[in-house]
Amino acid sequence: MKLTNTVKRKLIQIAAFGFSNIHLGNFKSGSLYTGSWKQFCNPGLNCYSCPAASLACPIGALQAVSGSMNFKFSFYVVGFLLAAGVIFGRVICGFFCPFGLLQELLHKIPFPKRKLPKPLRYLKYIILVVFVILLPIIAIDYMGMGKPAFCEFICPAGTLEGGIPLLLANPRLRTVIGELFSLKAAILVLTLLGCMSVYRFFCKTICPLGAIYGLLNKISLYHLEVDQKKCVGCQKCAHVCKMDVDPVKHPDSAECIRCGECRDACPAQAIHLGFTSPARASEHKLHKQHVKDSTSGD
C-alpha cells in the first residue's frame, strides 16, 4: 500500500505531537515534567505548562529570558529560532507544530467555512512585536522583571494545553481563578471557533512563532520552487491552497506552511519542495554522467 503525501504528513504531525507531549501520566497528577529536556525549545508552539510537555515553548522561553532580571534579550532562543527558521522555514508549522495539528482537526468539524480577510494576516506581526518582544522588556515590576505578555493575555494554546488540564487536576489552583482566566477562556473559545471556520485561524492571525518562521521562509533552505517552463498556468495550485497562497506568484510567501498540497495538485509536476533545487540537481546529475562517460572512454 502506497501512502499519499497527505497521509504521510498527518503521520509526521501525529508523531511530532506525541514526542512534544510524551508525559501523558502527568495529566492525572496535575504536575509537569521536570527533566533536563525542558531546557531545549520545541520548534513548534506547545505550552511548557502542559503536564505532558517534554520541551519548552520557544515563545514562552523568549519572554522568560527577556523578562528576567539579568537579561533583556535571549540570544539562546533567538539563535534557536533563527537556525530552525533558516533551515526549515514554515515547514515546521506544516509538519511539526502540535497546535497546528489541533487546528487542522478542528477545521474538519462541520461548521460554516470562511476565508480570512487578508489584512488580518498582519495581526500576528503586531502581536510578535508588542506582546512577545516589547512588553516583557518595557513593562517591568519593581524587581526589574517583565511579564510574559503574550502567554498571560493572549495564548490560547496555554489555556487549552496548560490551564484547563492543570485546573482540572488541582483543586487548589481553582480557588485563584479570576478575570484574567475569563479573558483567556474567551480568547480560547473565539480561537477554537475561528479554527473550525477558517483553516489554521490561529496560524494565520495570531501565532508569533509563525510570524518569525514566515519571515525566514523567504530564505529558508527547505523551499518551494516552481518550474516556470513546465507550469501550464492552470491555477490548480492556488485553488487548492488552504493558506490562500498562489505558489506560482509567491513561492516564498510568509504564509506558506510547505504542506505540499499544491505540489500534489499540479498536473505538470512543476512544483518542487525540498532542500535542493531541481535545476541544480539535474545539473549535478548531468555532470556525474559526463564524468562517468569520459572515464569509461579512457
Binding site: 535571549s74 540570544f75 498571560e152 490551564g163 481563578i177 529558508s220
Partner: protein
C-alpha cells in the same frame, strides 16, 4: 530577491544563529528556560 542575495542572507543568518546559541548557552540562558519550563507558569495558564 536574487539567488546570490538569498545565499548570502542564508549563510549570514545561520552563522548569527550559531553564534547567538553558543553565547546564549554560555551566559546561562538555558538554565533560565529550564527553570521557567519546569514550574507551573501561572501567567501562561491564565492565573498569574
Amino acid at each position: 530577491m536574487s539567488s546570490r542575495t538569498k545565499h548570502l542572507l542564508r549563510a549570514g543568518t545561520l552563522t548569527a544563529a550559531v553564534l547567538f546559541l553558543i553565547y546564549g548557552v554560555s551566559r546561562g540562558e538555558a538554565a533560565i528556560v529550564l527553570n521557567k519550563a519546569i514550574h507551573i507558569c501561572m501567567e501562561c495558564i491564565g492565573l498569574g
